[in-house]
């Protein structure tokens, strides 16, 4: 038998066009040891494997079961070496270097053994290298070459796996068992990297095989993160896009545009065609890991429904007509000016998008402030994390999470409040789960039994399953226990916090009304559970809080953020690794949108518009007079549109008709306006009310930066040409120019230069700097030239930390006889936000529609069975969903997602919002449910509303 592959005889440290693979993880030891490898001395950190030391020294050792994202396994026997003073040929992956060790990696003895091992592997492997999809990117092929294998003496007639079936059930990758060498890398990747433990090795000896547990990959617990595909050294687990399109030939490193984790990816192309997205090991946020969205769900960028030409229409009942860019921009500008002339300067405004780059967002808010001449700029963070801005600014002095993601590896106690990281921030969740498997203790505060409460090798120590709307009561009760049981870190508080507010807070929090025993009746959480959780949080060495929209999207969202900030200060859990208050931002650039001055009261860097000195800087730079008063928030714009004072809106990359609460109200306001301009990738719910549609660019076409939830600024590089022919910042500049304000940049790097010039926390940042270092966390300036992974280390941004009293004020949205259940909304792993992107990918395989989770007792009471269509009604409206009877929600609580416009969850959400920021109270809506066929069809569904519109 002769090998089809062309043996190269050299051992590539790179596989294909990917990043280097040193076989085992890097050691973090500060102690250095000297080892001699093939006659040359090398100094490496203690704990480094012989394999890695050799690879870093340039004399790579053959390997198959080793990869540097996984712990060494020592099974393939390809990496054997000879070490002076040791018997036999130890595996270099599992052998750590020692001081004075002398290693020989290329002796005749090991070469012969490796060749023999390789021969056995190849004897049970298809010899189709030239037609194999992994040709050129196959480690087995590489190793055959390195081993100098020319023949396989055993022939192919014996027992083998060559006819094993291929599992193509997953829409994104296939599993060709005939090519599997059972190296275990996929199984270990699923365990160690992803933490789902969906894969296993089934059988023994010759019958050993990789198994996803269920019938196939699709029906298994696999979450399609792609870690197994990435780890596979052969074509066994292979992206279908590679099988279809061929092996990529070049890469562009960029940043994912889904959640706030901000994963770095190598976009791998063949010519100009994107073949696959591979998570970058150098990515500061993800370190080589990914989720199903970032890894696979990028096809929407080339979806046939993309709008690539500007469109206009006189009335929203007219058909769209394609127009030139000049006509669209001229019409937009002249109409906006006409509205202002007739109704005043304040009659128009804009909404920026957290999906866009910092540079795009910066120019949108600049256009509003400088060309529109008002401060009517708001951002979609209004409906998600605006309470984070209010709460953390008030207590700590700035609107930002305190830690980097790596910090969780040093946490002893992890508290997850109102967040579902395994679904909404899966790559960070994998880090968190790793730490929990290592022994960190876990407290979950959530009405739902999220996966982290109990899943493979994860079990929360405490699940405080509170009633929706009682967050503040519970956080106060935890603080009450800490204050009354002597668990306050008095030293930290006296050294770091303002004593006046602290003493007032202490007096408040010790009141009996905040005791767990009182709060039990409000929240449904047993007092003793609250007490034990509080003691654990306070007594744990490093305790960190991670939270999501289950904290912010409440009538007391801002109060709750301050309550958590109080807790961290009271226990000294701030200012070092492993602790902190960490908002898990929903969209890719929520942090950046807030940083860039997208709120109506703030300029970039969170500086209030009333600050004369700050405003003067902007006025000098922009050559324009700025207003010193806040502009309208999104809900103000809607309300003023209905009352006739607000007439024109520029919507940048947001689908407010689907994402904002009380859909009927939003639609009424949009219909009231004289001009709605939508800039987006696809026609969406909002564009149904628009007069101008300006095609936007996907993240694969953008040139700029995103800032993730850990304040990390990452480069977004164009992978393909803009399908609409223009960068979005250019379009914004052209509108501003057409309105008479001269706004011009040569490229997006110039915009970042302006941001850095005018924003103290960004002073040290430029594209050149980011291209050199990869990414950086703000503040990045003269005081912190390398950025700031952890904030408030020596002092709070505001000086002393400020405790705030946080009285519990129950929401006005209550369950009652007519609407006895409480609806709370959330996300699911495979879909993202309003679904504009993920609904246009194969991710619909897993989540084709929004469903309503309902407890079996509530379902039984109403005669509802699993899978049945049900009408869900609130005092605002009614929609139809499919029931999913589930024990994830307690009796009295139901849950749904808002990814599909056809179900329109926000048809039923209410007008109530956070008292401080007007962030909608998405998480509490009183509803009733009945079988959909038990009475007349609902009259208020999104579909019916839109049909009428």
């Amino acid at each position: 038998m002769t090998l089809l592959a062309d043996p190269r005889g050299t051992m590539p440290i790179r596989s294909g066009i990917g990043e280097p693979d040193y076989g085992t993880p890097k050691s973090s030891s500060q102690v250095m040891v000297t080892v001699t490898i093939d006659g040359e001395a090398h100094v490496v950190p203690e704990g480094t494997s012989v394999m890695r030391a050799a690879g870093e020294a340039g004399c790579s050792i053959p390997k198959l079961c080793a990869t540097d994202s996984l712990q060494p396994f020592g099974s393939c026997r390809m990496c054997i070496v000879e070490i002076d003073g040791r018997k036999g040929t130890p595996a270099s992956c599992t052998t750590p270097v020692e001081e004075g060790m002398v290693v020989r990696t290329q002796t005749e003895k090991v070469a012969k053994l490796r060749k023999g091992v390789m021969e056995l592997y190849i004897s049970d492997h298809p010899l189709d290298c030239l037609t194999c999809s992994a040709n050129g990117d196959c480690e087995l092929q590489d190793m055959a070459g390195v081993a100098g294998l020319r023949e396989v003496r055993y022939g192919m007639d014996g027992k083998n796996h060559l006819d094993a079936p291929t599992d193509s059930s997953n829409p994104y990758f296939s599993f060709d068992e005939s090519k599997c060498i059972v190296c275990n890398r996929c199984v270990r990747a699923c365990d160690e990297v992803q933490g789902t433990l969906a894969l296993t090795i089934e059988g023994r000896g010759f019958n050993s095989k990789v198994s996803p547990g269920g019938l196939n990959f699709l029906s298994s617990e696999c979450v399609s993160c792609g870690a197994c595909v990435q780890a596979c050294p052969t074509a066994t687990l292979q992206e279908k896009s590679v099988i279809d399109l061929g092996m990529p030939t070049r890469t562009v490193q960029t940043t994912c545009a889904y959640c706030g984790v901000g994963c770095s990816f190598n976009a791998e192309l063949r010519g100009d065609e994107l073949v696959r997205m591979v998570p970058a090991k150098t990515g500061g946020a993800n370190e080589g890991h990914s989720c199903v969205k970032g890894r696979f769900a990028w096809g929407y960028a080339s979806h046939s429904e993309r709008i690539t030409k500007p469109m206009m229409r006189e009335k929203i009942t007219d058909e769209w007509r394609e127009v030139s860019w000049d006509e669209a921009i001229e019409f937009t500008a002249s109409k906006l000016k006409e509205i202002q002339l007739q109704y005043g300067d304040n009659s128009i405004g804009g909404i920026s998008s957290s999906r866009c780059t910092n540079e795009e967002i910066f120019v949108v808010q600049k256009m509003v402030r400088a060309a529109f001449g008002n401060n009517n700029i708001d951002t979609c963070a209004r409906v998600c994390h605006s309470p984070t801005g209010y709460g953390l600014s008030t207590t700590y002095g700035t609107s930002a999470g305190t830690q980097d993601f790596k910090s969780v590896a040093k946490s002893d106690v992890i508290v997850v409040i109102g967040a579902n990281p395994t679904d909404a921030h899966p790559v960070f969740a994998s880090r968190m789960k790793r730490r929990i498997r290592e022994g960190a203790q876990l407290i979950i505060i959530d009405p739902r039994k999220i996966d982290l409460v109990e899943s493979a090798h994860i079990k929360a120590d405490y699940h405080l399953q509170l009633q929706p709307g009682t967050n503040v009561a519970v956080i106060n009760a935890i603080a009450h226990v800490i204050a009354t049981e002597g668990l306050i870190d008095e030293v930290f508080v006296s050294e770091r916090c303002d004593p006046g507010p602290f003493n007032r807070w202490r007096k408040f929090i010790e009141l009996p009304e905040n005791s767990p025993e009182v709060v039990e009746s409000q929240s449904g959480v047993p007092a003793e559970t609250i007490r034990q959780a509080a003691r654990l949080y306070a007594a744990g060495n490093n305790a960190a809080i991670y939270y999501g929209l289950g904290v912010t999207e409440h009538s007391q969202g801002s109060t709750m953020v301050m309550g958590m900030a109080n807790l961290a200060m009271a226990t000294g859990n701030i200012g070092r690794e492993g602790v902190g208050i960490n908002p898990l931002r929903g969209q890719n650039n929520v942090q950046g949108a807030c940083d860039m001055g997208s709120f109506p009261h703030e300029l970039s860097g969170y500086r209030h518009v009333s600050d004369n000195a700050v405003r003067e800087q902007f006025e000098a730079l922009w050559d324009v007079k700025l207003l010193p008063d806040p502009g309208m928030r999104i809900p103000n714009m809607f309300d003023n549109a209905i009352s006739g004072e607000f007439r024109g809106l520029f919507v940048h990359g947001e689908d407010i008709a689907q994402s904002d609460p009380n859909t009927k109200h939003v639609e009424k306001s949009l219909k009231s306006m004289d001009l709605v301009v939508v800039q987006d990738l696809f026609l969406n719910e909002t564009s149904k009310f628009a007069h101008v549609f300006l095609p936007g660019t996907s993240f694969l076409e953008k040139d700029g930066t995103f800032t993730n939830a850990e304040r990390r600024i990452n480069r977004v590089r164009p992978v393909m040409a803009a399908k609409n022919g223009k960068q979005e910042w250019q379009i914004i500049c052209e509108i501003a120019q057409a309105m008479g304000y001269d706004m011009h940049y040569e490229n997006s790097a110039q915009i970042m230069d302006e941001i850095a010039q005018i924003t103290p926390t960004f002073k040290g940042i430029s594209f050149a700097m980011l291209d050199e270092v990869g990414s950086v966390q703000w503040p990045c300036n003269d005081a912190a030239p390398d950025g700031t992974p952890i904030m408030h280390v020596d002092g709070f941004v505001r000086g002393q930390g400020q405790f705030m009293e946080t009285p519990f004020v129950p929401t006005e949205e209550r369950s009652n006889r007519k609407f006895p259940l409480l609806l709370t909304t959330g996300r699911i792993l495979t879909q993202y936000n309003v679904g504009a992107q993920t609904r246009r990918t194969a991710n619909v395989t897993w989540h084709p529609e929004d469903v309503l989770e309902i407890h079996e007792s509530d379902a039984a009471l109403r005669g509802i069975s699993d899978g049945q269509k049900i009408a869900v009604s609130s005092r605002i409206g009614e929609t139809i969903l499919t029931a999913e009877v589930s024990d994830r929600v307690p009796a009295g609580v139901v849950h749904t997602t808002f990814h599909h416009p056809t179900s329109g969850a926000n048809v039923i959400t209410t007008e109530f919002s956070d008292w401080a920021t007007n962030c909608p109270e998405f998480k509490v809506t009183a509803v009733e449910i009945r079988p959909a066929d038990s009475s007349a069809a609902p009259t208020n569904t999104l579909e019916s509303v839109l049909t009428k519109a």
Binding site: P600, H601, D629, S643, E645, V809, W915, T917
Partner: protein
């Protein structure tokens, strides 16, 4: 903007800012920091005309803010 909305907003703010000596100041700071001038003007006018519908705290806040604005 519908005055009922502004009324509800200011009542929520009052409920969430604890009642002690700084309450008046913090409520007025909040209105200055986050409300548009038109929203403030509308509220002032409403409270002036229908004082009986508002709490003592909101009435006092509005009085103080109007006095400051005049000064």
């Amino acid at each position: 903007m519908d005055i009922k909305i502004l009324t509800h907003m200011v009542e929520q703010i009052e409920k969430n800012i604890p009642a002690h000596e700084e309450q008046y100041l913090r409520i007025s700071e909040h209105l200055i920091k986050f409300w548009t001038p038109q929203m403030r003007t509308d509220l002032f006018q409403e409270v002036k005309e229908n004082r009986q519908n508002y709490s003592e705290v909101v009435g006092q806040v509005v009085d103080d803010m109007r006095a400051k604005a005049k000064a």
